[in-house]
């Protein structure tokens, strides 16, 4: 097969000791900067790109591969250990990952995240190697109507996250939806619910809400509920990664996460929230022990982490085959490729096959290097949980404020952060689940925008949602996702 030959040539030019060193440097830097709160993958890549400008194209691409996957992976570490996700893709990881860390199973959570990222990254890169053009043209069939249907599907499957009390779950969801109303209405450019505050025009950044509700809220709640005689964090059970049981429970979620994450990453309007939360709710649905979710189920870390990395590889499909940057990170990468005379677009594979295949080979190498670097580091990171509580929580508050401020250089965001912390504390005190609020904030504006776009294009004719086959199929799937659990619950004695 021609693809395999081309890929072999790519590896031939990418594999040398010097290049492997660049891959290691890229992964190290990408992970190190990606771990810092508030510095997401896009900024990490933008900050580190100047380093590659003085290199030859092959070395530079090898380093890109490392930086890209490293930055994507870095966010999971702070999610698991400190409940402080650095980017939207690791929000789902934080739910069960941090619960595991508090039970002393931080090393297992970090290991399943690292291996899951590697497995997903490798499988997704293989899919990228062989099916890119096919997938890219399929993704173009997604219009506003289909995206609306997709967000409805995400809403429905996420009902698994609502928890025991319907009133509490729905309240949380509506709180998120209401916060999502704030900001510029993208379709008209008019401000909504911004109360004349310019900083609110772009809406409330989901990361601020997440860090506020989870990390700051947790800190406040500890003091509120327990004061000075709070129970200690459970001592570390093990520093040595995953048990046999952990492996048995992780491998299926890795594969399912990859299968969910990669195709959704290919869609030009993706983002990493939908694939990671879809993976989370699928794992919960399929689990024999759904009650463990939210209290340290390893499947809840393995699935979303795999989905996140697979989506990251998926983003490269429209970028390389169509020249479409579908995320901020991809836009930064696009600029970097242009630096080397690569003009991503429909002709890229035919005009510069040498560079493209070197880049794809670099992705495999960067991904493998990520595992090599991070598995030994897991033991180091896991010890963070041994830090005395006053210092740990003091540090979490400082990191939360630092990360929030560096998102937009806005002091108002820090005020919002601590306000969200107070809300998070109150929600915890009354057993209101936090995750539906996050989903509402992310999915609400997306669903509304795509719904109105679809109607604007059809000149107000609502039949687009049933006459377009793909859209109708997705909406039908949403209905099934909503009805099935009710039916099953009814039959159960």
């Amino acid at each position: 097969m021609q693809t395999i030959e081309l890929l072999r040539d790519g590896f031939a030019s990418a594999l040398s000791w010097g290049h492997l060193l660049w891959a290691l440097a890229g992964v190290t830097l990408g992970t190190a900067v990606g771990v810092l709160p508030g510095i997401g993958p896009a900024l990490t890549v933008a900050l580190l790109l100047p380093i590659t400008f003085n290199l030859d194209p092959t070395s530079a691409f090898i380093m890109f591969g490392g930086i890209y996957y490293g930055a994507m992976y870095g966010g999971s570490t702070t999610s698991i250990l400190l409940n402080t996700p650095g980017e939207t893709g690791s929000i789902a990881t934080a739910i069960d990952g941090h619960a595991m860390a508090r039970q002393g199973r931080g090393a297992s959570a970090l290991t399943t995240a690292a291996i899951g990222s590697f497995v997903a990254g490798t499988l997704a890169t293989i899919a990228l190697t062989f099916f890119s053009p096919l997938l890219a043209s399929a993704a173009l069939r997604f219009g506003p109507a289909e995206y609306f249907a997709l967000s409805v599907l995400a809403f429905m499957t996420a009902s698994a996250l609502i928890g025991g009390s319907l009133a509490r779950g729905l309240f949380s969801l509506f709180l998120g939806l209401a916060l999502g109303l704030i900001g510029i209405d993208q379709l008209t450019g008019n401000a909504r619910f911004a109360f004349g505050i310019p900083q609110l025009l772009d809406g409330i950044d989901v990361l601020i809400l997440v860090i506020g509700l989870f990390a700051v809220g947790e800190t406040f709640f500890q003091v509120w509920r327990h004061g000075r005689d709070a129970p200690a964090v459970v001592a570390l059970q093990t520093f040595t990664g995953m048990s046999r049981e952990d492996w048995r429970r992780s491998w299926r979620p890795w594969l399912r996460g990859t299968a969910i994450g990669f195709p959704l990453g290919v869609l030009p309007v993706g983002g990493s929230v939908i694939p990671t939360f879809l993976s989370y709710s699928v794992e919960k649905r399929l689990s024999a022990r759904p009650e463990e979710f939210g209290h340290g189920a390893i499947e809840g870390v393995a699935g979303p982490e795999a989905a996140n990395n697979a989506a990251a590889a998926g983003v490269l499909v429209p970028l390389l085959t169509l020249g479409l940057p579908s995320s901020a990170t991809a836009a930064v990468l696009l600029a970097a490729f242009e630096q080397y005379g690569l003009q991503p677009g429909p002709l890229l594979f035919s005009s510069r096959p040498d560079l493209v295949w070197t880049l794809i080979a670099s992705l495999y190498i960067g991904n493998a290097m990520l595992l090599v670097l991070n598995l030994p580091l897991v033991r180091v990171w896991a010890r963070v949980m041994l830090v005395p509580r006053p210092l740990l929580f003091g540090g979490i508050l400082v990191l939360a404020s630092l990360g929030t401020y560096s998102l937009n250089s806005s002091a108002l965001d820090v005020v919002l952060l601590f306000a969200a912390g107070v809300v998070g504390c109150a929600m915890r005190a009354h057993d209101v689940p936090l995750v539906p609020a996050v989903l509402g904030l992310v999915l609400g504006p997306l669903a509304e925008l795509q719904f109105r776009r679809a109607l604007a294009i059809s000149e107000g004719d609502p039949s687009v949602f049933v006459t377009r086959p793909l859209c109708a199929a997705l909406l039908a799937a949403s209905a099934v996702a909503l009805i099935l659990p009710v039916v099953f619950k009814g039959r159960r004695p």
Binding site: A25, T28, A32, I39, A42, L43, L47, P50, F53, A139, R141, G143, S165, R168, L170, F171, F174, L177, A178, G180, L181, I184, Q186, L187, G189, R192, L201, D202, T219, V223, W224, G227, R228, P268, V269, L322, P325, A328, A331, V332, G341, Q343, P346, L348, L377, R379, V380, F393, G394, G395, L397, V398, S401, L402, Y405, S406, N408, F418, H430, G444
Partner: protein, 441 residues
């Protein structure tokens, strides 16, 4: 084992240091470039291209880029005016889209509040349709548009941006009220391109550089370009030769803070003049397919004023039909009603179970201490600077958990705050308020 993490960070610092290091001894030590947008967009790319050109040409030793995103650049503009007034070591990337943003978002500040330096680049806009579209020429498209304006959906970038402005100018030129343009705003180049390629919209408007690869590959059919004359190597008819008297470009420019001394202004202007002639900048222009539209001094000021009135005019016409025409959106009210209903239900449940709930809590002192920590932090952040605010937050919060180790907690508070500041502000060049310790760190 933490040594390994430290080693990684040290390596990061060394590499970042090398990358930003200069080749000769430059005349200017540091010039900060503010991109009022998130990484990845046109302003961010312009800022980073300038960073490269200035450093490589040896004109400036170090030129860190700061991103201050939000509201079409008007957040960055407001901050630039407020925080940097009178400074001569910082510039702001701006341009046509900011004019649109100022109008659309009724920003309290305008480009009259900064010191204009120069126009740097321009990009012509192209109107295109997917290869499979029934529209072969601009005439075909406009005939359908004139017959029934709403039936043609125009896909492009965010509302109030250059793409929508061009759609409005075209509508105005053929006698259709801009308010009747069925403009579908997408949030970025990639998203709108996908909608155009996939045939989700009837026609698309975007910059030439973004469309060029698709045009070369034959996946898009260009119908018109907004330049005055045909461009060399770009076989696309202009709007003008097809009977529409429109010339339009998405220009990007530079501004300095308000209240700049005349000598400082002259120094910055000559720096920019040197940069646009430098080989690294020429290479960048070619690579990104940006046009060199360097224009400085009074000529630029006059140009910007003319553009401003044109943008205001078009965007006002867009808004004219909207205020009366569209019904209030039901969605926000559904959400608010849902929030009130579920909130009421929850409140009732909580109220009813309040008696049964175990309300005993530990003494109030820790809660008060923590509240004080947060309040002081917010108060000090922009006044006394990040380091002091963070140290106070850390120390008081730690004491809320356990008051027995004030000295240990204090040492960690200072250590964590200072190292976080040094890492973010000094190594990564991200903006954090330096405050009172500005001279020390």
């Amino acid at each position: 084992m933490t040594r390994r993490a430290c080693a990684a960070l040290v390596r990061a610092m060394v590499l970042l240091g090398c990358a930003s290091g200069a080749f000769a001894q430059p005349a200017i030590d540091e010039l900060r470039i503010i991109a009022p947008a998130a990484p990845g967009g046109g302003w961010d790319q312009t800022a980073r291209a300038m960073q490269q050109a200035l450093q490589r040409a040896g004109l400036v030793r170090i030129a860190p880029v700061e991103n201050v995103p939000g509201a079409a650049g008007t957040i960055g503009l407001a901050r630039f005016i407020g925080a940097e007034a009178g400074r001569s070591d910082v510039v702001l990337v701006s341009g046509l889209i900011m004019l649109g943003g100022i109008v659309t978002h009724r920003a309290p500040v305008t480009l009259h509040d900064v010191t204009p330096l120069a126009r740097l680049t321009g990009e012509y806009e192209v109107i295109a349709v997917p290869a499979a579209s029934p529209f072969r020429t601009l005439r075909d498209l406009l005939d359908a548009f004139i017959a029934r304006p709403e039936s043609i959906s125009w896909g492009g970038g965010s509302a109030g941006g250059s793409d929508q402005i061009l759609a409005g100018l075209v509508a105005d030129a053929v006698g259709v009220p801009p308010a009747r343009v069925n403009y579908i705003a997408f949030s970025g180049g990639g998203e709108s391109m996908a909608a155009i390629l996939g045939g989700q919209v009837s026609a698309g408007i975007n910059g030439l550089a973004e469309f060029a690869p698709q045009i070369e590959a034959g996946t898009l059919r260009p119908l018109a370009i907004s330049s005055a004359e045909r461009l060399a190597g770009v076989d696309v008819p202009t709007l003008r030769e097809q009977g529409l008297p429109i010339e339009f470009e998405n220009w990007r420019s530079l501004a300095a803070p308000p209240g700049l001394a005349a000598a400082d202004r002259a120094r910055l202007e000559s720096l920019i003049a040197a940069m646009v002639k430098s080989p690294p900048w020429r290479e960048t222009l070619a690579r990104y397919r940006w046009l060199d539209r360097y224009l400085a001094g009074d000529a630029f000021v006059r140009f910007a004023a003319a553009e401003e009135s044109r943008v205001r005019n078009v965007l006002r016409k867009f808004a004219e039909g909207q205020s009366g025409g569209t019904a209030p959106e039901p969605y926000p009210w559904i959400v608010i009603a849902g929030l009130l209903v579920t909130g009421g239900l929850l409140g009732r449940q909580v109220f009813r179970s309040a008696g049964a709930r175990d309300t005993s809590r530990s003494p109030r002192a820790p809660v008060v201490l923590l509240a004080a920590a947060v309040a002081l932090h917010l108060l000090l952040l922009e006044n006394a600077g990040f380091v002091i605010a963070a140290a106070v937050l850390f120390w008081l919060a730690a004491r809320a958990f356990d008051p027995r180790h004030p000295l240990r907690d204090g040492c960690f508070a200072v250590g964590v705050s200072v190292s976080a500041y040094v890492l973010f502000a000094r190594v990564l060049h991200l903006s954090l308020p330096a405050g009172l310790l500005a001279g020390w760190l």
